[in-house]
């Protein structure tokens, strides 16, 4: 029983990170069909910007990181993605790859490729003990924060002017523009939100791993990417559930695979992805109304 609770909490915590990453990618994909590979670098930059505020009070550090990542996200949109906005999705994807490559090696250039150790909020590493179950505080914080943020974003999308514009643009970008939604503004808001989510993920991830490296965002972006697709392209709820699904699958495999097969865990995760995509190419959680028309 204890083991089951432990696994559920692990799955939720890993899934939360993937879900937020997937949501950050999905927000942009929904509107402009851009699979933003540079999302991993947004996460990386969020973590590195902690170096700027070494001796400050923790909330200040988080705030600075969030601002930095939002600024970087908006800058990449303006400089790199706006000129290619009308190109096909493949060109957009390659552009995002070039941006990712550029930012990643910019940090190699500036700070070197070697990982840097960093210790923020070490108190989060200690576990809560409930009976025989030991739950790392970080897991609880991750799950709680994700829940709060997802609720806040849902409210933002449902209730605010910008949110309604974003949802309209995601359903039919051209129609939304004809009805007076400003393309540049709605895309900028999407990038800012995506950057905000990336910054939050980077904080949680750094507390967990304690290291910074130029490639640290890759894993999270990759799984976020996959979660967005198998969750249902363009569906934000789908992206979140897809993230949870991928997280749950990898945690479950980690705890149920025989020891000698554990190094191969990711191969099994991707085998699951492979079969899911074959069985439901339109995504796991996509509604019928989003079907592509001829």
């Amino acid at each position: 029983m204890n083991l089951v609770i432990q696994i559920i909490i692990d799955a939720l915590s890993v899934g939360s990170l993937y879900a937020m990453s997937a949501l950050g990618i999905g927000l942009i994909f929904g509107i402009m069909r851009l699979m933003n590979f540079a999302h991993g670098e947004f996460i990386m930059i969020g973590a590195y910007s902690l170096l700027l505020t070494a001796a400050q009070w923790a909330p200040v550090r988080v705030l600075v990181s969030v601002m930095v990542v939002i600024a970087v996200a908006l800058a990449t949109e303006r400089i790199a993605f706006r000129p290619v906005r009308r190109a096909n999705p493949t060109t957009l994807l390659i552009t995002s790859f070039a941006v990712s490559f550029f930012l990643q090696y910019l940090f190699v250039l500036l700070l070197g490729a070697r990982p840097i150790g960093i210790d923020i909020l070490p108190s989060l590493g200690e576990p809560f003990t409930v009976g025989a179950v030991r739950i790392p505080r970080l897991h609880v914080v991750t799950i709680g924060l994700t829940a709060v943020l997802l609720a806040a974003i849902a409210l933002f999308l449902k209730r605010t002017h910008f949110g309604i514009e974003m949802r309209a643009a995601a359903i039919n970008f051209r129609m939304a523009r004809l009805l007076g939604v400003r393309a540049n503004r709605v895309i900028a808001v999407a990038f800012a939100l995506s950057g905000f989510l990336a910054a939050v993920i980077s904080m949680l991830y750094v507390v967990q791993t304690g290291t910074l490296s130029p490639t640290m965002g890759l894993q999270l972006a990759l799984f976020g990417f996959i979660a967005t697709i198998i969750g249902g392209m363009g569906s934000l709820v789908g992206a979140v559930l897809g993230g949870m699904f991928v997280g749950a699958v990898s945690v479950l495999l980690q705890s149920t695979l025989p020891v000698e097969l554990r190094p191969y865990r990711d191969a099994f995760v991707f085998a699951v992805v492979f079969f899911v995509i074959l069985a439901r190419p339109q995504g796991l959680f996509r509604g019928a109304e989003a079907r592509e028309r001829v």
Binding site: M35, T90, I94, F102, F270, V273
Partner: protein
């Protein structure tokens, strides 16, 4: 020139012109220093990979993130078979004995490696080719991830994350040129075949192509298998050029490099595949020279590590921003006036 041979020339012009250009460039390069030759051989190996990728991506319009898997499968396949048994006894003692004792001539190793990649492509492609767009791209990526994870943990066969060494080195500038021209010929014959044209029709409009009786699934599958064999050849060449194989060579780096070369050149034409490879290779090499340092007036100027990649990404971004459809925008080299049909 008789009418018939002019017509033939006109038909084969896109391939012949590129092949001749390539031979001229390589012939000039062969006069250069060993370093120039080495760089050129590397570029030709990339060209085989990009042309292989083009056979599928260019004609079907579906992006594949999985082709590095076929490079890996073919390269290790050939490596296992063609490496001398004596070397394997020492370096790969955990290998099953039938492979450990096998020792076949390099050309057969190439054929076996390519066939192995094509066979796996057939198996995974059969279900995958029903999909389109980004779903197909993620499906192919899962194939790459699975092969990568398995190969980087399969100590007995691949050396895991350390390298497999001792492969016979037989790829030089001229063999690489031969392979590249061969790959281009296959790509050209495919794209002008009935099947290739049908596949291009499905790229433009899948529903319309199906309506006129194109078996889109079959056409895609055949292109996928041929394409896997050709990128496999690229992987094999790399192994037998460097003499070592490492799983990192065949993961995200090469995946994105080859896709970027193709997209930058223009994914819709063979000329695009060749030009993209050429432009990116030249840019990368120039930046490498700067990174290694050069002397001006006795002063060694040396760039810090990372500058090459930053510069390369910058060049790629600039090309994409100014030419979103690639340098060739999907066109082949124009047929010269001499070969054109007389008006009227």
């Amino acid at each position: 020139m008789s009418g018939r041979s002019t017509a033939l020339m006109r038909h084969f012009w896109p391939f012949l012109s590129l092949a001749v250009l390539l031979v001229v460039i390589v012939a000039l390069g062969s006069l250069g220093s060993p370093i120039v030759q080495r760089v050129m051989t590397e570029a030709l190996i990339r060209l085989v990979m990009v042309v292989g990728l083009y056979i599928f991506v260019g004609s079907s319009g579906i992006l594949s993130f999985g082709h590095a898997a076929f490079m890996m499968l073919a390269a290790y396949g050939s490596g296992w078979l063609a490496t001398p048994a004596k070397t394997k006894r020492v370096l790969m003692s955990d290998m099953p004995s039938f492979l450990g004792q096998a020792e076949i001539a390099p050309p057969f190793g190439v054929i076996c490696g390519m066939a192995w990649a094509a066979f796996i492509a057939l198996i995974v492609g059969y279900p995958l080719m029903r999909l389109s767009g980004i779903a197909a791209a993620i499906g192919t990526f899962s194939v790459l991830a699975i092969v990568y994870v398995v190969y980087s943990n399969w100590e007995a066969m691949t050396g895991g994350t350390s390298s497999m060494i001792g492969l016979p080195v037989y790829v030089d500038l001229w063999t690489a040129l031969g392979c590249a021209i061969g790959a281009m010929a296959v790509a050209f014959l495919f794209q002008t075949s009935k099947l290739g044209l049908a596949l291009r029709a499905s790229r433009e409009d899948e529903v319309a192509a199906k309506a006129i009786g194109v078996n889109v699934h079959l056409a895609r599958l055949i292109a996928f298998v041929i394409s896997a064999a050709i990128v496999g050849l690229g992987g094999i060449m790399q192994g037998h050029f460097l003499g070592t194989l490492n799983v990192f060579q065949f993961y995200l780096g090469i995946t994105f490099l080859t896709i970027a070369m193709l997209v930058i050149g223009g994914a819709g034409s063979l000329a695009g595949a060749v030009l993209g490879t050429f432009v990116v290779s030249v840019a990368a090499e120039l930046l490498r020279q700067i990174e290694n340092g050069f002397e001006i007036a006795g002063l060694l100027i040396q760039a810090p590590p990372g500058l090459r990649e930053v510069g390369l990404a910058f060049v790629m971004l600039a090309i994409l921003i100014f030419r979103p459809h690639g340098l060739t925008a999907g066109r082949e080299l124009p047929v010269p006036r001499l070969l054109r049909r007389a008006p009227g």
